[in-house]
Amino acid sequence: MAARRALKAVLVDLSGTLHVEDSAVPGAQEALKRLRSAPVTIRFVTNTTKECKRDLLERLTKLGFDIAENEIFTSLTAARNLLEQKQVRPLLLVDEKALPDFTGVATEDPNAVVIGLAPEHFHYEMMNKAFRLILDGAPLIAIHKARYFKKKNGLALGPGPFVTGLEYATDTKATVVGKPEKTFFLEALRGTSCAPEEAVMIGDDCRDDVGGAQDAGMRGILVRTGKYRPGDEDKINPAPYLTCESFPEAVEHILDHML
């Protein structure tokens, strides 16, 4: 096996990995402290479409995690980066709680469309507005393409089906910026001066966290917390670099074997 480059960056998933709902994973706060003693850059990454960085930071701080806002990278950040790269003005079909992450982005006379999980915007009139922009050449950016999600009273359509409908009507393809897209992981590393081969991702979603990271050239550690189900590690190819109990064990492995 080829010699591995030294580890310089660690990406950590949030929901299901550092915390589950409103409780921290046992021992995670101390594990994070120990990880900070190592010479690695840390990024906290998530696929949210309706929590801005400020809200995420507040929640994590309340749970006892020592995190800085600029260490957080979300699919909303990825979308914003893409808008800035393309120098376009978006029609933002996102939850209003996500809007703070787009402060400073011009939105008058839009020439791009950004779609997140925003059922309040997925009515016919707004969909037609988005459709006409895209037909006129506006790029369609999807925060992610989840088919549906679970709510207390049943399943509910995610943004994926609406993005698919717009792709069909306009005969175009959306750029998807959330996990497990390669761009998400590469963008998360932007500004860390670390290459994917020098980074590891820790997460509970085998396909979206570990699979996606490994496809981008990183190593992936699957933790058995959150949405993990026994046998998940057999569902991706190549298999996760490591499967372990939880975030603290992942950190121990990094400190003992990967630096």
Partner: protein, 292 residues
């Protein structure tokens, strides 16, 4: 969109080779299918055409009466699902066209036949004005979803409800009344049923069954209603894929009119080659009748 389908009885002995434009095959008193969008601008949802009354008179005298006089059968094939056939016909009659419900082939009745045949009870995601077409259908305890051009009824809540029915079925069946991507209204382009069909297909990982143009079964239904085989029928339409392509795949000949949804780039379509191009419906009829 309606296609003028002119059909002729097999028994009629008259035969003449038609060499007009690209019509190179013997035409035995063909049947004509008309697409309503190949009717003159008067019928575009964007009305306000000054020449409307004149165009209507022109159409009526040049098309309907001539067709009737020649003994050809006529059928209007439409993918309209925002209204019942009655309402659709009333609208056209209001604009001066001589047309009756019996001459219309539309997706909703075709869907009803399919539902009855297969014992399917639909959850309907359609325009309110289309619901009467399903009056005779058992809609209790739905075991399938029927989606049409629901327009304002495509709220998140309604699409979500249809999704929940579909995902809850052991064997999800999604029936779509067409697969159009968009259509033109007075206030701009709007998403058609195809976009929402794709949305539900993606959400539930199923493939929809399409009733309506360009599905083969739809054209076959129109031909059956006229009692004419495809080889003796000609389709006239403005939608190169749904009218012309769909009809040809059924074994019919098809003529593209340069009105309605037509765009010049259609003449370079990679797959569909119409049997003839004409500027408008009246010209199409001139050309076809002139060959008899």
């Amino acid at each position: 969109m309606s296609c003028v389908l002119i059909a002729c009885p097999l028994a009629y002995p008259y035969e003449k080779r038609a060499v007009v434009g690209h019509l190179q095959h013997p035409v035995v008193r063909p049947g004509l299918c008309i697409c309503e969008h190949s009717l003159p601008p008067a019928l575009e949802k964007s009305s306000g055409n000054l020449g409307r009354r004149e165009a209507v008179e022109q159409l009526d005298s040049r098309v309907k009466t001539r067709i009737k006089a020649s003994g050809l059968k006529l059928r209007f094939c439409t993918n309209e699902t925002q209204a019942t056939r009655e309402k659709f016909v009333k609208k056209l009659q209001g604009l001066g066209f001589d047309i009756s419900v019996a001459e219309v082939t539309a997706p909703a009745p075709a869907a009803c036949r399919l539902l009855k045949e297969r014992g399917l009870r639909p959850h309907l995601l359609v325009h309110d004005d289309l619901i009467p077409e399903f009056a005779e259908i058992d809609k209790t305890n739905p075991n399938c979803v029927v989606v049409g051009d629901a327009a304002e009824n495509f709220s998140y809540a309604n699409v979500n409800e249809a999704f929940r029915v579909l995902i809850g079925l052991e064997k999800p069946v999604l029936i779509s009344l067409g697969r159009g991507r968009y259509y033109k209204e007075t206030d701009g382009l709007k998403l058609d049923v195809g976009a929402y069909m794709k949305a539900l297909e993606y959400a539930c990982d199923v493939e929809a069954e399409v009733v309506g143009k360009p599905a083969k079964a739809f054209f076959e239904s129109a031909l059956a209603e006229m009692g004419v085989p495809p080889q003796q029928a000609i389709m006239i339409g403005d939608d190169i894929v749904n009218d012309v392509g769909g009809a040809q795949q059924c074994g019919m000949r098809a003529v593209q009119v340069r009105t309605g949804k037509y765009r010049p780039c259609d003449e370079n379509h990679p797959q569909v080659k119409p049997d003839a191009y004409v500027n408008n419906l009246a010209e199409a009829v001139d050309v076809i009748l002139g060959q008899l």
